[in-house]
């Protein structure tokens, strides 16, 4: 399966077409095709994962044998005799578990242009295999969830078609071997996001949100293109990801080129993964159906940026000097996003918007982790975040199904009485997000904080550790607020809420279950026996010449008791403060009414730091207003003047041509040919006189001529 993993994206792609063409006629309107396709893809992804584990184990074995032989030789040379096995074993352990795991690749040449072969192919290594599992699993659960959530919708079939297309594009992006393929799939997921956000485009806010998402992503894509082009030329005319990374790491590419490429690609990450300042589309994207938000804007598409950074990590590591500095662009952007997003989550009344800003904040964590050099931590957080965030979103969908609204303040409250399953899973997922021991979020967030504290150059990335801890505190607080407003207190709505059906609840349980256990995939060395420690890192971290682990400055954070206890405490304090505020009503309620600075701060947050104003009125407005007017003036006077002048000249020329040439020459020629034809016809008319002798004359004459010609010329 490893060699053939490239068929995994093709199955949902085929299902996209099948659903488009046949979906409406099928008994379940196409959803069965979608579920079947993603189901098969998920099974294949599982098989691929297990085969990958074998692959890694084989690679480890081989390198062990190899190093055994090397060590034995050295010993034999040194002491002239074979050493005791115990000493050998000790030396082996010292040599460390640095072994190479070659990625599985397939490639075909797509076309050639200007001496460059443009290839498409599959690069299957650790992160790809992990993402295969995550994407197919979450997509499958979202498919099942959607059969209940969007049942009876006006465009049910198209919804599933686009879900399939999205899954196929995301899987293609994951397994892309070249940056070109990456770009194609990047854009495709953007298109699917646009189509799915605007699923109910009859209402203007939804289509506006879809447009905003797409266009903001387009702005970032400029950076993507610039980055890819820079890398193409810098790495010697190649789009191949492995090769680009390898060259970045062995010093063949100048540092300036790497820096430029990293900063350009950072723009793409900012737009796709919702980092400040291009994050404005993500909360608006909540206009789409909730399964879409769960799949695309929580678990999978928004992590495409993270994935891209992780894939091209060699470029970033060298370009931004991650291993040896204590602050860099990637970490700064991530850090700002962590805090900014978390702050905004406090003032939202729409439950999905809270979760959206929470996603923004958590993505900030992942980017920050990549920025400080903790690659495994970032991807591990991606892994766990997918599960608990999807669970939270699907839970909010379940709630909205019951109360027909997303507004927490107005329509929710006290729902735990009527929706026990949703309440339980939502609570577990919240705890995982906050990072309570021993749920998943604890392990992954902790590793990020440890990385910030331990990695990097002088002074490490301590500032970012503080940022991370602050973020954890805020996450705890706002999520507790959400839980309170939704499930506790008085019911403020007007309907009769009830628990949702099994197709909605089952995915909730599955995802929250995973949120509980996923953390044990990467247990730190200090807390677990050798056989189960750091399994995630063991299997999924790339080990090869194309990944910075070959560099001496690359390091993996170790578990730190201090940080773990500190972050847990902070989290509990956050929960506690929120509890006091909401359950007990303590604290300065209504402070925004009384105090000017508090009011100002609140207004700032309510207006999302005025970023939207900046973009629509500032930048777009400038283009709409003065620049457009100037362009219009040029168009009307200058360009139109030229065009009108050309038109006038053409009219004059046309008149001349008509009178002289057309009427005079051409018509005469045509008339002449008519006369010729008539005359010729008159002439030939005489041939058919009916007189036999004339026919005979023609016959004999022609024969004589041909005979003469024959004799003369042949």
């Amino acid at each position: 399966m490893l060699d053939n993993a490239w068929i995994i994206p093709l199955i949902p792609a085929a299902s996209f077409f099948l659903i488009l063409f046949f979906g409406k006629r099928m008994p379940r309107k196409g959803s069965e095709i979608g579920i079947a396709a993603v189901g098969i893809a998920f099974v294949l992804a599982l098989v691929t994962n297990f085969q990958w584990f074998d692959h890694v184990a084989d690679a480890e074995h081989e390198s062990e044998q190899h190093s055994e032989e090397v060590v034995e030789e050295e010993h034999a040379l040194a002491t002239g005799e074979s050493a005791a096995p115990v000493a050998l074993a000790a030396e082996e352990e010292e040599a460390g578990h640095h072994f190479e795991v070659p990625p599985v690749t397939e490639e075909v040449t797509w076309f050639q242009n200007g001496g460059v072969d443009i290839k498409v192919g599959m690069l299957l290594d650790g992160p790809a295999v992990m993402m295969l599992f995550v994407v197919t699993l979450v997509s499958l659960l979202v498919h099942v969830y959607s059969t209940d959530y969007v049942a009876g919708d006006r465009r049910y079939t198209h919804f599933f078609a686009f879900l399939s297309l999205f899954t196929a594009s995301m899987l293609g992006l994951i397994m892309a071997k070249s940056t070109l393929q990456l770009i194609v799939c990047w854009e495709l997921v953007g298109v699917c996001s646009f189509a799915l956000i605007g699923h109910w485009w009859e209402e203007k806010p939804n289509s506006d949100a879809a447009l905003k998402a797409f266009i903001t992503n387009r702005v970032g894509d400029v950076g993507l293109l610039c980055g890819v082009i820079t890398l193409f030329f810098a790495a010697g005319n190649t789009f191949d990801i492995e090769e680009i990374n390898a060259r970045a790491l062995d010093g063949s590419i100048t540092h300036l080129a790497l820096l430029v490429a990293s900063l350009s690609l950072l723009a793409a990450v900012m737009s796709k993964s919702g980092q400040f300042i291009l994050h404005t589309w993500l909360p608006d994207a909540m206009a789409g159906p909730t399964p879409v938000s769960a799949l695309i804007h929580a678990a999978t598409m928004v992590v495409a940026g993270i994935y891209m950074v992780g894939r091209l990590y060699g470029v970033f590591f060298e370009g931004l000097q991650i291993g040896v500095s204590s602050v860099n662009a990637l970490a700064v952007v991530g850090g700002i996003t962590v805090i900014g997003g978390a702050l905004l989550a406090f003032v939202q009344n729409d439950i999905k918007k809270v979760l959206a800003y929470s996603t923004v904040s958590q993505l900030g964590y992942m980017v920050m982790a990549l920025g400080v050099g903790a690659w495994t931590a970032a991807f591990f957080h991606l892994f766990t975040h997918a599960f608990f965030k999807a669970s939270l979103f699907l839970g909010s969908g379940s709630v909205s199904h019951a109360v027909h609204s997303f507004d927490m303040k107005k329509d929710m409250g006290g729902l735990r009485k009527w929706m026990p399953h949703t309440y339980r899973t939502f609570l577990v997922a919240t705890a995982a997000l906050i990072g309570i021991f021993p749920l998943a979020g604890f392990w992954s967030k902790d590793e990020i904080l440890a990385g910030a504290a331990q990695l990097g150059g002088e002074g490490n990335y301590t500032a970012f550790m503080i940022v991370g801890i602050t973020g954890a505190f805020m996450t705890a607080a706002y999520m507790t607020r959400v839980v309170y407003l939704t499930f506790f207190g008085e019911y403020r709505g007007h309907g009769h809420p009830h628990e949702s059906g099994p197709r909605i609840v089952a995915p909730l349980y599955i995802l929250s279950g995973l949120a509980v256990v996923a953390g044990f995939a990467n247990l730190p060395a200090a807390l677990s026996p050798d056989s189960v420690e750091l399994r995630f890192e063991h299997f999924y971290e790339p080990k090869g010449a194309y990944f910075p682990s070959v560099l001496p400055v690359f390091d993996v954070p170790e578990f730190s008791w201090g940080i773990a206890i500190l972050s847990s405490l902070i989290g509990l304090i956050g929960i506690g403060l929120a509890y006091l505020w909401f359950w007990k009503g303590a604290g300065p309620h209504g402070i925004t009414q009384r105090s000017r600075p508090a009011r100002a701060g609140f207004t700032l947050l309510e207006n999302k730091y005025y970023f939207d104003r900046l973009y629509t009125d500032g930048i777009a407005g400038a283009f709409k207003g003065p620049i457009a007017r100037a362009a219009n003036w040029v168009n009307q006077n200058v360009i139109d003047g030229i065009v009108n002048g050309a038109g006038r000249i053409t009219t004059v020329v046309g008149r001349f041509v008509y009178n002289r040439i057309d009427q005079g020459i051409v018509d005469n020629v045509v008339d002449g040919s008519g006369f010729a034809a008539e005359g010729g016809g008159q002439l030939f008319r005489r041939l058919t006189s009916g007189k036999v002798q004339q026919y005979g004359a023609l016959l004999f004459g022609a024969t004589a001529l041909f005979a003469g010609a024959l004799i003369l010329f042949i």
Binding site: T688, K691, V692
Partner: protein
């Protein structure tokens, strides 16, 4: 002595040339063609056809004599027979035309005009 003269003459170039007969046949043929194409009376056309057939006969017999093959004579006989048949039928047709139109002027026979 006569035989000697004959032999001497035979050794030289005084004998009959094949071309003489062939050219005679060709000339007769062309005269016949001229007659076919330009005579107005249908019977005259038939006569011209007879000229053509005779020219063919001369040709056949000339070659027969040259190569010592009796086939020339055989087919000349056949040609004569066919010519006889053809004249019989042809005149019958001319008679019919005469009966219908009271004229054998070929210029008037243009029902296939157009």
């Amino acid at each position: 002595m006569l035989a000697q003269q004959v032999q001497e003459a035979a050794a030289g170039n005084d004998g009959l040339m094949l071309n003489q007969f062939l050219l005679l046949g060709a000339a007769l043929f062309c005269i016949g063609v001229y007659g076919v194409l330009s005579r107005r009376n249908a019977v005259m056309v038939l006569m011209s056809i007879e000229l053509i057939l005779n020219a063919v006969n001369i040709n056949l017999l000339a070659f027969g004599a040259r190569f010592g093959d009796i086939t020339g004579s055989v087919f000349a006989l056949f040609v004569i027979a066919v010519a006889a048949a053809e004249v019989g039928v042809g005149l019958a047709i001319v008679l019919i035309i005469y009966r219908n139109r009271h004229s054998v002027d070929l210029n008037d026979v243009d029902a296939m005009k157009g």
